[in-house]
């Protein structure tokens, strides 16, 4: 039987990328002068695990490079070499190189061997230098620390019972690798039990019959021991106990209600089955998770969405019923609704991830770009545990990167300029996330020079974005930076200044159903505030009727709704109409004309005008009447039909009717470019 290891490649890549993220975070802490042994151990373990996995899967370039990196890390860990900024820099770039090699291997692309060789030469050069012992790290290094010979306390360490399961070898987990890794943590005593080995004639060579009782001595974190068995834990019986008994506060105790059973399991492993060790770890927030594909969660969410709609239909059907049974039915339906809401919220929470997944990239970005530009910048992150829908998170990353780069490049001044302005030479960029009114707010702030309104206005005049005869409010002037191609940068660099970006940032935020605002004080700094929906699966919408059709208008896009008076409407040469709203003239968009349907009212005076805004543009949507506001479950049009400009999706109403959800930027685009509408005519049944 040939073992097909390719089936484990994706898991390896996924876990390696996550591990590299942890490695980078630890390196950045080292970079900030936070030299501690556990940080170095964390970095070492990442390199070690990736090397082991890469060697198992015969990704030889990755394994070879990581081996060199690991050797340097081992020198740092052992205190043979001192942590220096230039070494941290090389290590960070080595992490990037590993990520690049893994990505290329994953895509089956060629690896940048020249870049890797160059970096490898740098690692070799550092290792070739005579090392300088770093007392603080060496003293704290757990793997190398042994109890003093005359110490009365028992030797610190861990006693491990390791019984491989029948599939351990077949799944590419080699006990030899595991024991080898354990031996890197401290002094390892191995006692093997070969009693399970049958005669050679009966032995299945792909099933491990050996069992081990191990003792690894040293001041070693329990997590470090667990990490060694990380890949094998589901395929073996594993008991880990501290030599000489557990301390009163076990390392795995979780700060939750489940702490008591966990502590019990950890403190008395003999009293519980071997699996209890794994179970105890699973109660730990770090270990208690399973990987589920996002498709499965989406299917679940979709089914819950259907249930919500069905429940809504039932409620509507029950509404006109009378009598005692009808009352009981309505009461039961009300209960059903509560449970459905709870279920929906629970399922949606499954898709939620902390915003730290996005924020984690910024320490590196700020460090690297700050160094490159010669600026001293401190990054402050708060609220990084705030949770957002995974899809929103994935889409918010790039806009945030752009905003932070802008803050570094344009916002924070050079140290001498800051000192001259009476500021600290260290600039500060803050990332702050918090919940507010059912939305998540993300703020990117800096204490730099702020936006210069006079300069923005001058550039806008030069580019013809505004005219001299219009007096703009401060907010409107600041919002000019979102105009396509707008830039106030005097010099175009590869960092920023080409004017490509802020318009894209706003469009991306708007596509997420979010909103972006700027606050800036000249000389003191700027804040960009982004309001995001918690999820893209449901939407707060205003139902609006046009003829027999009902549309859902995202509430986030609605500015106000007004009744039209004739004296405020003007016809324009192109045949359209505009409406005067205070000092502004807004185009009137007749939804019935846009979507080719028959309305109840053609006269503007008989209907309502919803003022909606997208991308800084406002229009008045003419509809017959407004209905209720409700939260709707979004169904993709692309999945079920095709993309239609102006429509974000569809939903089913309580009475079973389908309502189309308007995409306001798309509506405006469709209105402005009728020839490019791309109207999708449904196929005749």
């Amino acid at each position: 039987m040939t073992l097909d290891l390719t089936q484990f490649h994706e898991i390896f890549f996924e876990e390696s990328f996550e591990a590299l993220d942890s490695m980078e975070a630890a390196l950045l802490k080292l970079s900030a002068g936070e030299v501690d042994a556990e940080l170095i151990n964390t970095i070492f373990r990442v390199a070690h695990s990736i090397k082991g996995g890469a060697a198992t899967f015969a990704f030889n370039e990755v394994a070879g490079f990581t081996h060199v990196l690991e050797t340097l890390l081992d020198q740092l860990r052992a205190g043979k070499r001192q942590v220096r900024p230039d070494i941290v820099d090389v290590l960070l770039r080595s992490g990037d190189a590993m990520r690049g090699m893994l990505s290329a291997t994953q895509r089956k692309d060629a690896i940048d061997t020249a870049g890797v060789a160059k970096l490898r030469a740098e690692l070799d050069r550092i290792m070739g230098e005579s090392g300088t012992a770093a007392a603080p790290v060496a003293a704290a290094s757990p793997a190398k620390t042994h109890a003093a010979p005359d110490a009365p306390a028992p030797t610190p360490g861990w006693r491990i019972r390791f019984v491989p399961g029948p599939d351990l070898l077949r799944h590419g987990n080699d006990p030899l690798r595991i024991l080898r890794e354990l031996s890197t943590l401290g002094h390892l005593k191995v006692s093997v039990d070969a009693g399970g080995i049958p005669p050679l004639t009966d032995l299945d060579p792909e099933v491990c019959r050996l069992r081990w009782n191990l003792e690894v001595e040293g001041e070693i974190e329990r997590s470090a021991v667990h990490a060694v068995f990380e890949w094998a834990e589901s395929e073996c019986e594993l008991t880990i106990e501290r030599i000489g008994g557990e301390p009163s506060a076990p390392a795995v105790a979780a700060p939750s209600e489940s702490a008591a059973p966990v502590a019990a399991a950890a403190a008395a492993p003999e009293a519980v089955p071997p699996k209890a060790e794994v179970a105890a770890r699973n109660a730990n927030p770090d270990g208690g998770s399973i990987r589920v594909s996002i498709e499965k969660i989406d299917e679940l969410l979709n089914s819950v969405g259907e249930l919500v709609i069905t429940q809504s239909v039932l409620s509507q059907l029950a509404a006109p019923l009378e009598g005692r049974e009808a009352g009981e039915l309505r009461s039961a339906l009300a209960q059903l609704e509560r449970h459905m809401r709870a279920l929906q919220e629970s399922v949606m929470r499954v898709r939620m991830l902390p915003i730290s997944f996005v924020f984690n990239r910024f320490p590196r970005l700020v460090r690297d770009l700050g160094q490159r530009l010669g600026k001293k910048i401190e990054l402050k992150v708060t609220g990084d545990t705030t949770e957002l829908d995974k899809t929103v998170l994935e889409k918010i990353g790039d806009p945030l990167v752009h905003l932070v780069r802008n803050s570094i490049d344009h916002g924070i001044e050079m140290p001498d300029v800051r000192l001259a302005a009476g500021k600290s030479e260290h600039g500060t960029i803050s990332l702050h996330a918090y919940h507010k009114g059912g939305n998540v707010i993300v703020e990117v702030s800096d204490d730099g020079g702020g936006l210069r309104k006079d300069k923005i206005l001058r550039k806008a005049l030069e580019r013809g974005l505004v005219t001299n005869d219009v007096e703009l409010s401060e907010e409107r002037i600041l919002n000019l930076i979102f105009a396509p191609g707008f830039s106030t940068a005097d010099v175009v660099s590869d960092v920023s200044g080409r004017g490509v970006g802020m318009d894209v940032v706003r469009r991306n935020i708007n596509e997420l159903g979010g909103h972006i605002q700027i606050f800036s004080t000249e000389g003191k700094g700027s804040t960009i505030r982004i309001r995001l929906p918690l999820t893209l699966a449901i939407l707060d919408g205003q139902l609006a009727r046009v003829g027999k059709e009902v549309y859902v208008v995202p509430i986030v896009s609605i500015v106000e709704t007004i009744q039209v008076t004739r004296e405020r409407v003007c016809a324009v040469a192109s045949g359209g109409q505009v409406f005067r709203l205070r000092d502004d003239y807004l185009p009137i968009v007749r939804l019935h004309a846009l979507f080719d349907i028959e309305p109840d009212h053609h006269d503007l005076l008989d209907g309502l005008l919803m003022i909606v805004e997208a991308d800084g543009k406002r229009v008045g949507l003419f509809v017959d009447e407004l209905m209720s506001q409700q939260q709707v479950v979004i169904k993709s049009l692309e999945t079920n039909f095709k993309q239609v400009t102006g429509l974000a999706g569809a939903t089913m109403l309580g009475d079973g009717r389908v309502a189309l959800i308007l995409d306001i930027p798309g509506v405006i685009t469709r209105f402005q470019a009728p020839e490019e509408r791309g109207v999708a005519k449904p196929q005749a049944a």
Partner: protein
Amino acid sequence: MKDTRKKSRSKAAGSHRVRAVAAVPAVAAVPAVATAVAAPAVVAAAVIPATQPAPATAQRLGRVILGTSCTIQEAEAVRAHLLSQAALPGPYEIDGGSVELVDTAGIQLIVAFALDCLEKGVAYKWTGRSATLEKAIELLGVSPLLEYPA
């Protein structure tokens, strides 16, 4: 059947023979993996047959020669070779001097062979062990199981 054999193995070999204890010093680097990386082109033939004609006095001598790679990938071939040698009356010689790549599956086969020898009371001796093989034996703690008692 298996249970019976297991019991008889325990009796014959004695629990001290199937329970081996070894101490492995802390190591800084991982030479075995490095070797695997440095020598990716593993020789396909896992088992190298003896090329020397057997001396007349040693016609009944089994010769186990382990190839450069002795891992789960070659496990069936190694097992077949071990069984073919075990069919000879013995005593046996085991040559592991060429082993460059080894894993637990490979070591386990050798242990099973050694335990069979012990049960049958047929002696074996090592004529060579590569550093990689030696390190793996030490790490897995099976060293005492692979020495035929004098």
